[in-house]
Symmetry: C2
Subunit: 384 residues, 2 copies
């Protein structure tokens, strides 16, 4: 096991009716800005629940944070935070609203060009405290210190992280997700699954507990994912999926083990260039990456084949191939195609990705820096 430092201070309020408690979690004299997305929270009752939980308190609002939240949009909220002396942000929505709000929190007190937080990883030394009401299980943003921000004008999509943007609290009420379109649930299942894989499917590090915790989440996603898609109002299935998505990226399962975030990094480029949903890009990249890297990942791929998919017969090559096939088939089964061509994306549309990564200095992705631009090229060819 590798050495690690771990601290996750987020308070989780999980279950039916928990939105009613947020009033107690926000300082009584806070000047609150509530952030949200396209307005679905006004149709599904979440907005009213939040208003009622904050009865008697005034708060400003900022709606319109889009999927793959844009710097340009978020800076409008930063202006409000600065002008109105906002000192608490309440993000109500999915991963994009939460990620965008983390950026607003860090950007508002930032001296200089806030895009540097993302592009140059400029240190965040202060941030406006935030809380969240999560309405879309997928990204894990509700219990971590990361966010991914897009810059439309520059066609960029990049992550940043700071312990100062951990939410003070996050409400996870599965009922708030009942009205989500199936496509968002499908994407969320894939996103959570791939988060686990990126902390698990590397090389053995003599960390059997971390391995089994990861497998626990994968097995539960395989069991509960299709169920929650088929039965959107099944509270238990939705609750189990929701908790899986949070546990997939709250940092815990990745402690003391190597990690490989190449799938996300390549996926972000596809979204930046072609506008595909985040989950779609992951479903495309992961099986292709496993295929190309299967020799390097052999030991863990064989373990994954056996423990997650119950594959115990055949040669090592056959078992690895079958595990990758089952992974691809699972993504397809939950409604997310796994080929670029299925989305009408031609190879030419993504051929600049290796060069884009290189220009950024990212010439060594993967758990051992072995995913070079040439490897990315092969991954994209397999993903075509």
């Amino acid at each position: 096991m590798l050495n690690f430092e771990y601290r996750n201070p987020v308070k989780i309020l999980f279950g039916k009716g928990q939105i009613s408690k947020i009033g107690k979690e926000i300082p009584a004299d806070a000047r609150i800005l509530m952030t949200y997305g396209g307005g679905s929270i006004k149709r599904n009752g979440v907005y009213d629940q939040v208003r009622s939980a904050l009865a008697g308190r005034s708060f400003a609002e900022f709606g319109g944070i889009e999927p793959n939240p844009r710097y340009e949009t978020l800076m409008k909220a930063v202006e409000i935070v600065r002008a109105e002396k906002i000192d608490f942000l309440l993000a109500v929505g999915g991963g994009s609203v939460l990620d965008g709000t983390k950026f607003i929190a860090a950007a508002a007190p930032f001296q200089g060009d806030p895009w540097d937080i993302v592009l140059k990883k400029a240190p965040v030394t202060s941030a406006v405290p935030l809380g969240t009401v999560l309405t879309l299980p997928a990204t894990g943003s509700e219990m971590n210190n990361c966010a991914v921000i897009s810059h439309a004008a520059r066609q960029e999509k990049l992550p940043f992280a700071s312990d100062l943007v951990y939410p003070q609290f996050s409400v996870l009420d599965p009922e708030t997700t009942f009205s989500l379109p199936p496509r968002q649930i499908s994407n969320g299942i894939v996103d959570a699954f791939v988060h686990v894989m990126e902390q698990y499917l590397t090389f053995p590090a003599d960390a059997p507990l971390q391995d089994r915790l990861a497998e626990a989440i994968l097995l539960t996603l395989i069991e509960e994912g299709p169920k929650t898609l088929a039965e959107p109002r099944n509270y238990e299935a939705r609750a189990n999926f929701m908790w899986c998505a949070t546990m997939a990226l709250n940092g815990l399962i990745g402690q003391g083990v190597p990690q490989d975030w190449a799938t996300h990094m390549i996926g972000h480029e596809i979204t930046a260039l072609c506008g595909l949903d985040h989950g779609q890009t992951l479903a495309i990249v992961l099986p292709a990456l496993l295929e190309v890297q299967r020799e390097r990942k052999k030991a863990k791929l064989l373990q994954y084949a056996e423990r997650v998919w119950g594959i115990t017969s055949g040669t090592e090559e056959e078992r690895m191939a079958e595990a990758i096939r089952r992974t691809r088939e699972f993504f397809e089964r939950v409604g997310v195609p796994t080929r670029l061509s299925a989305y009408g994306v031609a190879p030419a549309a993504v051929c600049s990705i290796p060069e884009r990564l290189e220009r950024r200095g990212w010439v060594a992705l993967g758990e051992s820096g072995e995913v070079t631009p040439a490897v990315v090229n092969r991954v994209l060819a397999v993903a075509a």
Copy 2:
């Protein structure tokens, strides 16, 4: 899944050499009291590592915290904290030192009789901040808000909990445990195993992720426990056991599911009356409790039989019996006998336990309050 609220703010510093970082974790102007037990830390080098990490800073010391830490001993430390205006406690040792230090932290600023914190669950409204250097994997105290305190004069052993006694940080360096006597490792394996069972072996709550997280820890303890006993200086085995013990009782796996702490409550009584090690009492009580409660726990016992022990053939009765037998055999295999008689404890020595529980108002232990004093009587008979 049941509703839950979860927040665990402890910072974990895991691995070789991490003691050197504690200086940065303790406020520069803190008046520190370092607490420890019987002095083994002076023989195994941990004391010197702590001194060197705090080089240039002065700190007071309080040694002699015994296994099953006693109110009488701890109150001497409370006097020092009050007299010397100590504002940071650094606990260096195993679960007893950590638990004792949590009590010192809560008792020092307490108005009134501090034993009320334990006996009457008097609310803790203030506590001295504390950090820990763990040298014995077992209790999970390094990453939770609980402690168990004994009162020698009153022959009592009772738990208390407060969010104010979460450690600010805990260092887990597996190398500090290399010199532990095998008996302490044996007890630690049983303690961690039983902590998981008490959050898992109840009734199904449609919480498949929590179930699998619990099974992940059990399977890893079964694999790594005997290995770390046989090879005390095998870093990886010790590291894996250490992380299992922390994860077994940091609150995470028990979120959203029923719990049954009857084994611990009965075990504490046996220690209070007969002085047996904590781990020994758990190895005695758990198999007997599962035996007596097997019909109520049937669904989970069958799941445990299959997923943890691979038992898939036989009638339900046979599979449950075999799972209990394998549990008992595992405890024996790691060196902890599972019968009162093996420790020379006669039935008469523990026959007052049901009445003691009743006197305290604890007439309904177990996940559904079904462990009445009469049931405790039957458990003790099976455990004889």
